[in-house]
């Protein structure tokens, strides 16, 4: 479970024009469920995702992670809650790598290298056995119907294919939580529905899913266990 307590994120706090992107958000996100953050552009959804995913630190407030495996950090015991906003950077990196898988709106694939290399990329800093990682990446790409594109540069992929590569990359470290930021923004309806079907499979396998979207295919999906509506950095519905 992910628990947010009075989280606020203000940009340019020291300047004359501070901007509060997330304003006093308290929220509990259940493990093994699909939670959708819904809201218009500028409502603070993406900022909130970056805070939960340890990519940014809040200006104030705390975020607790429950149910992490024992070996996530030294001295962490099964059942201990871990407060992530105060973690020193080296521990935060470990959490980011092992707990979260990210699917970005623009996919953020590295152009000029192959599909397989893109998927394997997040494992390089972990020093895992290359052959085992490669086998795992191939297995995931095959499961997503990308077997024939393994060695192809990502530049040649269609939007739907590129997104599936991004999904395979998000899964390569076998994360507990999958975070997707506007994943269907660049997809047509058919591909969006395919995406949600995939999310359903991950949910069945026990993953926690957190998706931001203002696409009705996503927040209206029967797979969504909870829809949290945001506006102007605050939760207005579903907290």
């Amino acid at each position: 479970m992910i628990e947010l307590v009075h989280v606020e994120k203000t940009y340019q706090a020291d300047l004359a024009t501070p901007f509060t992107a997330v304003d006093d958000v308290s929220l509990s996100i259940a493990a093994g469920k699909l939670t959708v953050l819904k809201g218009p552009s500028g409502s603070g959804k993406t900022t909130l995702l970056t805070l939960i995913g340890c990519m940014a630190r809040p200006t104030s407030g705390r975020i607790h992670l429950h149910g992490l495996p024992e070996d996530t950090l030294p001295e962490l015991k099964e059942g201990d809650a871990l407060e992530i906003t105060s973690l020193p950077e080296r521990f935060l990196t470990a959490i980011r790598r092992r707990t979260f898988g990210f699917i970005f709106q623009q996919f953020n694939l590295i152009r000029g290298i192959s599909v397989l290399e893109n998927v394997m990329l997040p494992t390089y800093p972990t020093g895992e056995d290359h052959q085992r990682v490669e086998a795992s990446a191939i297995q995931r790409l095959e499961a997503l119907g990308l077997a024939r594109h393994l060695r192809a540069p990502v530049d040649r992929l269609s939007g739907g294919e590129a997104q599936r590569v991004a999904i395979a990359r998000a899964l390569i470290n076998d994360p507990l939580v999958i975070i997707a930021d506007e994943p269907t923004a660049h997809l047509d309806s058919k591909l969006s529905e395919d995406f949600m079907e995939l999310m359903g499979q991950f949910k069945s396998s026990g993953k926690t899913l957190l998706i931001t979207s203002h696409d009705p295919i996503v927040y209206g999906s029967p797979l969504a266990d909870r829809v949290v509506e945001m506006r102007d950095g605050r939760i207005v519905k579903g907290s």
């Binding site: 009075h6 200006t59 950090l73 030294p74 001295e75 906003t85 105060s86 973690l87 020193p88």
Partner: protein
Amino acid sequence: MIQHPGILALLLASGLVSLLLTAAGWQGFQILRGWNLQSGSEGQLDLERRTYLVSTLVTNALVIQILSLFLFIFTADGLHAQFVGAMCAAGSLSANAHGYPTLLIKVATCLVAGVWLILQRADTQGHDYPLIRPKYALLLILVPLVLAETWLQTSYLVGLKADVMTSCCGSLFGQGRQGLASELASLPPRLMQPVFWISFAALMVSGVVLLRTRRGAIAFSVISFAFLCVAVASLLSFFCLYIYELPTHHCPFCLLQKEYGFVGYPIYGTLLGGAMAGLGVGALAPFGDRKSLTSALPRLQARLVWSTLFLALAFTLIVGIWMLLSPLKL
């Protein structure tokens, strides 16, 4: 004389370190006053972010601080030709009243800086800033020491006047004179040799006991500091005599000269390094109950114990080999 490269480097380094540590000390004071990890307030999160920067700055400043001790000795040795009567750093340091106090305070800050770096290392092993308060409390002790050192060193270096009549090391560390240096040099080798070997054995035994039982960290720390004192006294009393092959020359600074293969640098490096590691073992001892350091702290302490023992052994081997190869027999 102020245009000497060594003097310029020392003045620049001490000014920089003082500036950085004063700023860091203020941050440390804020952290000691307002730190509350349970709070998610803006102020607390700001302190958490600032502590990365402060720790990094202090770490770099203290590495410079430790290295500056050796640069200071090297510079003092290099300057001796400027003074009438000086044969080595001993004479340069007595060229005015601030020389020896500067050296003593530099040794003290070097040891405290070493302990701070060890606390900093331990603190970064835990995910919840387990040693943040002791670390910054020690920093607040270190800041006035470094500022005092900067003042003393500046007074010494700026106050150096060429062609001043000063004393040679034979006179300063000669037997039968007044003062601590002379009294240490006068300690009879027959007394100091067993004292040295007993303290060496005590250090080794206490280290092995600590490694095996994980008990006696404070005792080990005290013994390692005692070993430093005994080793310096032994150096003055008899090791120097073998190195210089002269039964009357007790100077601890001529060792730093080319004629003796610059052997003083490894000798003092191993002694100070060993003392820092040994003191670090004791400094970490009260924090064994910090939950996030349960496994990291014993590992770090064990590494420090091994370092202390290795450096003490290295020191003993260096001086022991000189002793064995020396044609002088006492």
